[in-house]
Every structure is written in structure tokens, then in C-alpha cells.
Amino acid sequence: MTERIKKLSDMTVKGEMYIEHTETKYDRKDIFLPPVIMSAKRSKEYILNQKPYVSEYTALTGYLRFNGDVMGDIFNRNGHRNYKMLMDNFYNKPVDGLCTFEWQHSVADFEKVIKIGIKGFKAEIEVSRVNHTDKEKKDFLDALDIIADAIIGWAEKCSAAARIKSLEVACPEYKANLIKLSDALCKVPANPAESFYEAVLTLYLIYAFVPDSIGTIDRYLYSFYKKDIENGVLTKEEAKSYLQELFLMLQARVSIKSDRFYRGGESHFCIGGYLENGEDGFNELSRLILDSLLELPTWIPQISLRWTKKTPEDVLKYVMDCERKDPNKRIAFVNDEPRIKAFMEIGGFPYELACKYTMVGCNEPQLPGGIFMGGCYANIAKSIENTLYNCGDEICEAENFEDFYKIFERELYSTIKLCTDYYNKFQSVRARDINLVSTMFFEGSIKRAESITRGGAENAVADLSFIGIITVVDSLSVIKQFVYVEKKISMKTLLEALRANWNGYEILHSDILKNGRFFGNDDEISNYCAYRFACSVSEYFKDKRTDMGYKFMIGNLIGYNQHHKWFGDYVRATPDGRLNGEMISYGIGQNNGKDREGLTALLSSVAKLNSHVIFCGETVTNVFIDEQLVKNDKNFEKLVKLFETYFKLGGLHYQLNYVSKEDLRNAQTTPEKYRNLRVRVSGFSDYFIFLNEDLQNEIISRTEKSI
């Protein structure tokens, strides 16, 4: 790490690089303008009124943040009043015990900005204006044009600030950096970038307008990197310092006062993966990106390796080795084939586009210039509850599992229908906000002259996250095993036991817990039930679109929150041995110690579940690994092979926690000694001691795989 980056890094972790916004005064006569024009005018004035962050160590600049005065970026959504209204009413607050409203993530098409510059966008706006006659659309395009001018103006302001700073700086190297920055900002982002430095600078500055993921930087920056290195105008060390300065901005933009500062999970991006030509894309820049990031003592951004069947063995081993050594837990792993297949088969996107996806947020897949129209978590355990508690007479007459399953499927579909209805309601309220600041960076929005909140983006999919998938699968599996295969009990007895919350049925309850064929053990019954469930879900969504016309992918991610607990409150006892009101399952993976057959069994079950790729929404598979295991290099190599096989079998994702139960228990009793103990909670990683006690206990009780 260079001295310059060291200084910036120290300032970042101390929270000293955080930029507060500058208050702006607006002309009250603005309100006589058409609404979007007023909004654009004020946004422009706001943008141009902000102060660029330039220090003597600066080589890149252009970050700014939005407050609630104007409708800001699509990620932080400051000023998006309808969005806020939804959040106030439905975020983390289940409606009908069934759904909550959630965040959504996105990634700008940075490749396009770098290639055509903001002037290129202005040209597109000009063309679109010709194609639209509607006054509202024309106003919208005018508004986008105002924003485009604001961005160019902002770059000019940043350029001037760098120039002024350069006059104060004595160190020749730092002075030269600032002059170079000032010069470059006269050219980019208004015009196309022509060097690696200009490309990174464009990304750095434009990021302020879509502050979420930076996408697949190892591919869209690679041609610049290669050319500059070959021409001798860039050294590897310089490239590294620019990347590091970029990464530091991603951390620094979060206030140290926010609990999100120490959380990983945001600004998630990818390296590797299939290229347009079908080859694996992990290149020398990918490695440099990873090394640059891991040198920094920060938590944000998070990075995923996109694994392909052509990923060299030593690359997976290298990245997994980086991961085990990273105290800040910034690395996860994703399998390209199911992801790309899902974008092609479900989303209907061509391979050339699908292969450019990145992971964003916690773990949402997204195409460049696209938004992941998430925003709804659903309590899918309601489907099995409805079947058992509302259709008792009917299911008691079912002669075999198939007959029973038909009734369940009907109830499942009616549960899903209620959830998608809420999804559409949420989105329709969301559509009352018109986003200007981020919109042009989403493919299709200029052509359609439509805000992304209203369906402007073409490269989008909708995500509905199912919480409780494994509760449903395990319940189906227990029914199949106990009622229909082993015939140990009748459906009537089972229903009585459930209604009694297992009181008086303790033997049956313990028999189920001990001998139930639960998901994660790679046995035929639970695998079959998981498969049937996936088929049903896949079938349901085959021809369904959201009201905005997007196809659904189903997620299973639980974020930092405890939906499984809140939803569990609304679900009565289930056949998997769950009691009334107990939490339901979350994610796809280890489920409270019910997976007993070891990691190969668990991973095989997980991999088999997704053969329809319907569960390719925001997904997560957390795996706990005994830290003792990986201290030995020979065993670590086996661990690499274990996960390579899991991906070959079709597994979608994994992220690892290396811990001992002892560590975690000790951390609970003497947190002061365990300040550095970091664990993954779903897509996020955080310091263990910061989690609330419930979440801590859950992590402890989850199966730790000792091999």
C-alpha cells in the first residue's frame, strides 16, 4: 500500500472522509414549473451547490450525497416520499402476517457511461425527444437533460477544486496527482474515457448518482488496463492505488455513525464469470482487484467470485484462501451457470447480456443498467399452514401423497397470489415517486422516457423472497414419510397433534424430530419434496409478470432482519416439529441442526433444489466451518474441492464462516475480548458482538460442520 493510500485509508476508517451535504436554497417560484422540471432544476442546483472532497492525497474525486430536499439517487432514495411512506408502514412490519416491504438494489451501466460519456446520454435524450409527443414524457426527458448538465457541471466544479488544492500542495507527486485529476475532469465524464485512470474516475464520479454496486469492473475496465500497461502509461502499482481509492470511497460514503459502516454487504460487486465468448473471465485485473481490496482494512465493498466450469482450479483455491484469511469477511462465491440460465430462461435476456450480471446488495443478481425490483418478502410457510388448518376434511380423505400434494399446491398458489398482489401494490405506490438522478443510467429509461420507479428499466427482474421454504419442504417431507410411506400415523392424528401444539403428542413429536427425513440430508423423501415444491413454484411463475411487466425470480434471502421470527409469530405448529409461533426457516441451508449427514449431504440437497433455476432471486447459503479444519492446508484443499463439487452439481452460492462454538459463546460472555470476531449473517457480515442476543444464539445453535 502506498503512503498516499495509507493516509486515505486511515482517514476512511476513522470516518473522516465522510462528506456532509450542503444545504441549498431554492426559488419558491419553482413550484409554478411542471413538477418534473421543478424537481430537475432543484436537483441541479443542489448538485452544483455541494462541496467536492479534495485533500492533498486525492487522485479521484466527485462523490456527493443527497439529502431529502430533492428526489435523490435510487439507492438511498432521499426525497422519495412515497417510498418513505411504504417504509414507515410496511418495512419489517408484516401485513396480514404475510408480506413486508423491502429495499431494492440496482447497478448502473457504468460500461456505457465510460464508453459514451454524459454527452452520449444527452444525444440519446435528444433522439428520444423526437420519438415522444406526450407532454409529460417530453418534460421528463427535459428533466433528464437538466440532470445530465448538472453532472457535467459537477465535474467542472470538482476540477476547479482539484486545481485550487494543487496550488496549496507542496509534495510534487501529490501536486501532480491533483493537476492530473483537474485536467481529466475537464474531459470525463462528459466525454468518453480513454485511459484506465479516466475510466476509474468516471466510475468514481458517476457512482454518486447510483451509489450501489460498481458491477463487473474486471471486464469493463480490463481493456483500458491492458492497453495502458502495454503502452507503458500505467504501472500495476498505480492501477492498484486508483482501485484502492475507489474502494475507500465506497466505505467512506457511509457515515461512521451508521451501523451500516461496519457491516459488509453493500456495494457488492463481482469478478470472474463467463465472457461473451464463453470463456472464463478471471484475468490479471481480477486478481489485482482482489488483492487491492484485501489490503484495505475496510468492510465495504463486498466481492463475489463468479465461478464457471472453466474457472481454473488454482483460482478458486486462491480466492478461497483469500477469503479464509480475510478478517473482514468480504468474499462470497456464486455459480455462473444457474445464474445465467435464470436470466436467459426466466428473464428472456440474451446470453451476451445475461453473462454480464453482477451480484448487488446482500446477494441479489442484477444485469448492468438494471434494477432488481425487489421490495417484498413473503411468508411462504402460510401455504402449508393454510393447507393443514383450513382444508382438514379434504386432506384427511387424500389417499396418497400425490392427492395430498394437489391440495397443498392449490393452497400454495393462493398464498403466492396474495403475495404477488401485495408486491404489485407496493410497486404501484413506489411508482408515485419519479426518480431523475439515477434513471438515465438504466437501460431503456431514456427510450421509454420513464422513471425506473415506474418501469423505465429494461434489464430488470422482479424478486419476491420466500421466507420459510425449508419449513414447507420439511413439513411436506414429514407428511410423506410418516403418513404415506411409513404409515406410522394418520393425517387425522397429525392434524390433532398440530392443533394441540404437540401437547399430549410428545412421543410423536420426538419421533419426528429424531427420525424425520429433513431437508439437507440428501435423502430421497426430502429431496423429492423440495423438487416438487420447486416445480410447483416454477410452474406458477412461468407466465406471470408484475404489473410493470417484469418476470419474477424467487429469493430466499434473509437480510439483516428477522423475518423468520416475525413471520413465525403468525404460523401455527407445523409437521416438521415446529411449535406455534416458533420461527420459520430462512435461507437455503443449515436448518437448526436438522441436517445431520454432513456437508456433502447438505450441499447435495441444496444443489438439487434449484434445478428449475426459479430460486435464483436474492439467495444465500451460509455454511459454518469448524476453524480447526482449515488450519491444516491439506484439509483446506479438500474444502476447496468440496465447494467446487457443489458448484458442479448446480449449487448457486455459498459464503463461509470459520468459527468454533466456543468462540461464539465466549464472545457472548466477554464481548470485550471478541471485538474482532466477524460472522456472516446472510448477505451481511458484521461483528458478532454487535448482533442482538437472539441472533447470536441462533448462530450458535446452527449446526457447525465439524469434519
Binding site: K638, K641, T645
Partner: protein
């Protein structure tokens, strides 16, 4: 054909190369005093009872057809126990049942260079079943390892050698007297078989030496073992320090565990060095 097996463990990282499935056969002809799998010694299924988990609810007695006076190994008490204090250890498996379990992880074996390990107890005591299952594994192109204490007629080795890729061969000590003291059996046959195996077996042999505090953890004994195996064709030698993780099982079986000392990690390191030096022709 059936065998009594007490556990089939998938995802093993420690029983040979790569990721493996380990099949534990029940029944052993040695009685090593430090045995960490005491449930493996008797070939018949056994009820294990974990006293600390028992809440004295009496459900087991209610469920038992014989009022707990004699045991037919029906397992009803284990089902009835709400707290998991009782379980049956060991049951009969058919060839196809075992093979099915083994083949589940074939993809993992292929990527990692792993396979199946037959262990125990002494898996070679159920030789006909072992021979048959090994054949089936070979037909299915699964790498096979046999973990044995070697106190077995030589003919048994001849039967399975063609279908075995690797032997994991335990050598507990060199001195016969000490061996009898620790295991109730002479090691004469064990060492003879190992010598023959080294001469005639075409696959790999890995020697495993359990190091038991206060039994064989002295340099002189380790030197003797080394001296013996130095002349043999051995792929690798592993030193396995004694641990106390099996102790609770003795209690569950109503047996008394003999307490040995867990060797100091420094001592293990030192013994490994002694070993290395001898191997390299000290």
C-alpha cells in the same frame, strides 16, 4: 448378504485421500484399552443410554414390550424417549443399502480424489460382505480404502486385495508384551501380515500409529516401530494422538473407561521428528 454397521459418515476429511464416506463396521477382535469407539467392539447391536439426558419420565418403560426386563433390540424405547437419551447402535445393512449411501457422494470423490473407507471396529471380520461391497465399489469406479488393525488371517487380505486401493493399517506398538497388555492380543500376526502386505499388495499402504500417553509415547517404542516399517513399502505414516472424546460413550454403554493421558502436542511434535529422522535414514 448383510453386515452389522454402526455408522456411515459422509464428508470425512480424515480417513484417507480426498473427501470420503466412511463405513463403520461393528465388531472387533482387539480390545484396545484406549478405544475411542467402544460401541464398535461387540458385533451385535447395542442400546446406548446417555444418563445425563434422561429425565426419568418412564416413557421407555411404557414403550418396552418386555417391561425393560430383557431386550430384543426392537428400538421402541429409543423412539419413545423424548429427550434422545437412548439410541440403538448398529443395525443390519444390505449390500445395496450401503452401496447406495456410498454412491451419493460420487461427484465429491471424483473432484477431490476421494472415495470410500471401510473402518470399524474391524471391518475385515465381516469379510464376505466386505469383499462383495469392495467389488461393487470397483465396478462403480469408487476409490476404496480399508482401515484395519490387521489381526486377521492372511487369506482374508488375499480376498480383498484385488478390489482395494489403499490400506490404512494400524500399528499400535512393536513390543509384543506391550501389545498384549494394551489390546489383549499378540501383535505377531499383525506385523507378519503387514510385512506380507508390503510385499504383495500393489496399492498404497498408510500406517497409522495411535500415540497413547503412558502407553507407547516413549521414544524407544516409536523407534522400534519406525525401525520395523522402514524396511517396508509404505506410502505414508500418520501419528494419531490419543483423545478423550470417546469417554462419554463408555458410560452410555455401561462400560468403564480407562483413563489415559492425552499426549502433549509438543511431545507429539517431537515424536514426529524422531520418526522423520529415522525414515530419512538417521
Amino acid at each position: 448378504m448383510k453386515a452389522i454397521i454402526f455408522d456411515i459418515q459422509r464428508s470425512s476429511f480424515v480417513d484417507g485421500p480426498g473427501i470420503r464416506t466412511t463405513v463403520f463396521f461393528k465388531g472387533c477382535n482387539l480390545r484396545c484399552k484406549w478405544c475411542h469407539n467402544p460401541e464398535s467392539q461387540i458385533i451385535k447391536p447395542q442400546i446406548m443410554f446417555y444418563k445425563s439426558k434422561c429425565i426419568s419420565c418412564g416413557k421407555c418403560r411404557e414403550a418396552c414390550p418386555n417391561n425393560m426386563e430383557k431386550c430384543d433390540m426392537c428400538g421402541k424405547c429409543t423412539y419413545a424417549c423424548p429427550n434422545g437419551a437412548r439410541r440403538i447402535c448398529g443395525r443390519e445393512y444390505t449390500i445395496s443399502e450401503v452401496l447406495k449411501e456410498i454412491l451419493k457422494d460420487k461427484a465429491f470423490y471424483e473432484t477431490s480424489g476421494g472415495g470410500v473407507t471401510f473402518s470399524g471396529g474391524e471391518c475385515m471380520l465381516q469379510i464376505d460382505f466386505l469383499e462383495e461391497i469392495l467389488k461393487k465399489c470397483k465396478e462403480n469406479k469408487v476409490h476404496t480404502a480399508v482401515d484395519t488393525a490387521g489381526c486377521i488371517p492372511w487369506e482374508y487380505f488375499l480376498k480383498i486385495m484385488p478390489y482395494t486401493n489403499l490400506f490404512l493399517y494400524d500399528v499400535k506398538c512393536f513390543s509384543d508384551k506391550l501389545h498384549i497388555l494394551g489390546t489383549n492380543y499378540s501383535n505377531k500376526l499383525i506385523l507378519e501380515n503387514l510385512k506380507k502386505l508390503s510385499d504383495e499388495f500393489l496399492g498404497d499402504i498408510i500406517i497409522r500409529i495411535p500415540v497413547i500417553g503412558g502407553f507407547n509415547d516413549d521414544t524407544a517404542e516409536i523407534r522400534k516401530i519406525c525401525g520395523f516399517i522402514k524396511s517396508l513399502r509404505i506410502k505414508n505414516t500418520e501419528i494419531l494422538p490419543y483423545h478423550k472424546m470417546g469417554e462419554y460413550k463408555y458410560e452410555a454403554l455401561g462400560m468403564k473407561a480407562l483413563k489415559y493421558k492425552v499426549p502433549d502436542p509438543k511431545e507429539i511434535k517431537r515424536l514426529k521428528e524422531v520418526f522423520c529422522n529415522i525414515q530419512q535414514g538417521e
